[in-house]
Amino acid sequence: MNRQEKIDTLFEKSLKMFQEKGYDNVKVTDICSAVNITKPTFYALHLTKDDLLKHAFQADYDELDPSWYDKEPTDLIEAIVDGVEVVNNRAVSLGKDLIRAFLKINLTKASLDVSWNQPWKERMLWLIQQAKSQKLILNQADAEMILNECMLYNVGYALYFSTEPGVTLDRDTYRYGVRVLLNTPRSRNRADSEKEKETDRFNTEQDEIRKSPDDQSKPGFLFEFSMKGREQV
């Protein structure tokens, strides 16, 4: 096995073990013996047990159709919601126990370096900017900040989903939440047609889209929490 093969096997095996026995009940020694390597070999790969769990939470964006990345979407808002939901789907599919373990290690050892998938991020920003320029999104923040807000929604949702007893994923409600965040005209109710004119005037005031300088600095946990993004609201 070469280095990458070893790492891939470790990711795969450890996730199975975490899901079967619970994160806290799996020792590094157990993982090593399951993949027939020694503990020194494991550490020589510069991995920790936390890294293994962290990797499981990195959405592998394959769930998104390849056309999501390069085709003109028929519905921009749906495309944005799909992009946000992929991250949540990944977490939810791992189950409540692993979400809790993941949040706990984040709260113990700050800012795990989970980084965003770059093509995904670029596509998300493009979609948000398109939707903003077509006035499909009324959220007042710039694209980068809106993306941050979406990821914060995911973190909050993960906390709620994993701790609130008896909660099951209701996709419609989850997706509707993203729409409410974006503040899409579709998320409004009928009574609003009278306000339409007023909203249009409001739109023209805020269609300036600022592209924030690309900030590779500090990938955070599920979301990139850059100070720059914060100051730009």
Binding site: L103, T108, S187
Partner: protein, 194 residues
């Protein structure tokens, strides 16, 4: 049976005293560096006495959070009586942030970790606060103060998720930014204040 067990109001005030003293010690020395024995020493009580009123160390933080929530509800009710719905909403929204800033990121992270460690405990907003917030959102929509016209209940849920997500982020970043200010900005961008 001793005096305090017969009289619930005394038991309650004793419990509060123990909780408050423990919290004060946590704030001064850090959660992990204060043992129950040390709390008892300061209070001049025995460990069994302490545990009779406070079943677990973590409950001190849960209690502090609930107490703050009660204070917030009182304030929000007052604001709503005077038709100050925007202030009422923003005040309730910053509840988590008020609690978090009072506790500091370390203690707040301990609180969140304890929620995550104990099955069946979650970070709930009280139903009263929930009702007040939804009412304020609906009023603000009618007044035209906020532009987001989604169902008030859905807006409420979104704001709670966002608020909790931000609080988690704040802890993982070791309190590196002003929580209240950040949240006000985000809530503003979502609600679309006119």
């Amino acid at each position: 049976m001793n005096q305090s067990e017969r009289r619930p109001e005394i038991a309650g005030s004793k419990q509060q005293l123990y909780m408050d003293t423990a919290l004060q010690l946590f704030l001064e020395h850090g959660y992990d560096d204060v043992s129950v024995s040390e709390i008892c020493k300061v209070l001049h009580i025995t460990k069994p006495t302490f545990y009779r009123y406070v079943q677990a160390k973590e409950l001190v933080l849960v209690n502090a959070f609930e107490k703050m929530q009660k204070d917030v509800i009182k304030e929000v009710e007052q604001l709503m009586k005077h038709n100050q719905y925007k202030d009422a909403l923003m005040y309730s929204l910053t509840l988590a942030h008020h609690a978090a800033s009072t506790l500091g990121f370390e203690l707040f992270a301990v609180y969140l970790r304890s929620l995550l460690s104990n099955e069946g405990t979650s970070w709930q907003y009280s139903p009263v606060l929930c009702r007040l917030m939804i009412e304020s959102i609906a009023k603000l929509q009618q007044e035209g103060t906020i532009r987001n016209q989604a169902d008030p209940k859905q807006i409420y849920h979104l704001l709670v998720h966002l608020s909790q997500g931000i609080a988690v982020g704040w802890c993982t970043e070791h309190g590196a930014f002003d929580l209240k200010e950040f949240y006000e900005k985000i809530a503003g961008s979502v609600l679309g204040f006119s």
